[in-house]
Symmetry: D2
């Protein structure tokens, strides 16, 4: 799991992601977190788009985000993603957002998810099952 836990993605704030306070709008951090999860899955051979097309629907069940410090225009940051097994049918991701220039902690988050088929029944494909060992 060492290799998994070291996954992180480097991004830069885009000005349209900032709101009238001049900082990244709260909801956009969730976009960053989602994008990092999907990029992590790709490194493990799992494509969110392909899974969706095949009728395997990854679903977020719960999200907890601690907002520690805001990002601003021009900030570069990393988004980490560490997979965690929660129960036979639930898996999760521990995620952090860190500003690159000063290593400032921006966000810490825990995302719990499951996987269902097109009938809405829980269904973890073998690849997903294995990934969250």
């Amino acid at each position: 799991m060492e290799s998994n836990s070291s996954f992180s993605l480097q991004l830069k704030v885009r000005d349209y992601e900032c709101d009238m306070q001049g900082i990244v709008n709260n909801a956009n951090y969730q976009h960053y977190l989602e994008h990092a999860r999907h990029e992590f899955l790709l490194t493990q051979g799992l494509s969110f788009a392909k899974l969706t097309a095949e009728g395997i629907i990854l679903v977020v069940k719960r999200i907890e985000i601690e907002y520690l410090s805001p990002l601003r225009s021009g900030d570069q940051f990393s988004v980490s993603c560490e997979p965690v097994r929660i129960s036979p049918l639930r898996f999760g991701f521990r995620q952090n957002i860190t500003r690159l220039t000063d290593n400032k902690a921006i966000i810490t988050a825990m995302v719990t998810a499951t996987s269902i088929n097109t009938k809405g029944r829980p269904f973890l494909s073998p690849e997903i099952d294995r990934l969250f060992g």
Copy 2:
């Protein structure tokens, strides 16, 4: 507090809020929740935009969202907002999203916030302090 606790806003899913799974993207529920909080504040005489212009910065510190069921294209829903006092410097909002046609619970959320001045120091204006009495 009865009047406060009964605040809710009725909205309808916009198609651009749905993602390739055909359901509202996770982050967009945060947009709905934020919009309901700001509309609630307006009913209490507090404008997020005016507060921002005056240097009173409302900041979300923590958010917990349970995703119970997804919204789809065309769904109409209500977003509730109940203010809660958490500590001298922290206040919060209990929020639910409910589909209108069948009263289905979609989201339950707890949002913890604080208020700071332009120097980043905690500052609750009297109106905010009173609201979360």
Copy 3:
């Protein structure tokens, strides 16, 4: 066509739609325009989501937007939508955004679209063909 040409939708700016200039971000007007088009189509018995599920893909080919004046936090506005036939395979929408309090013209736009099947070939269903008669 009188009934069609009078379609308009009333909306209110949501704070997350504003950017660091304190005005609605340019791209969000496209969201307003799209939402009004889809609501207009619904009044004509056409659901964008159902069409998509049936493999009829409505596609914007060209958009021209004149930005006349910006919307700000709290502004209420109407978005109009008038269907126009452009050619056998192309149809369009003339759209305006107007602030409600003072009737200020905010946006005027012309959107050209077509409809394709899942193989990417032009395909106007009879309902679409009739609507843009």
Copy 4:
């Protein structure tokens, strides 16, 4: 101007930018175009955020976008940005979006802008004036 005209930014589609058709939602291309313009301005020593804070408001007046082909999940693309002088008070950007894997033309756009001060009067700072020579 050769160096200017060769500015381009490489990006990758994020899944939340796709809508229920499985392709990037129309409005999001405008986000890509804006981000490329702001990154281009930064390479020329002009920060949109700093200009805004100094009361120099860059305003889009008109946008024309031709949608040639859609982007999908995972696509990598470049967004170009070439400055154009239109009139004493108006400047613009010719922009293209091209898919990287096959050089497919995705978007061609022309964006016309101006610059105003906080009183809403046209004001082109010397740096802006020079850039659009």
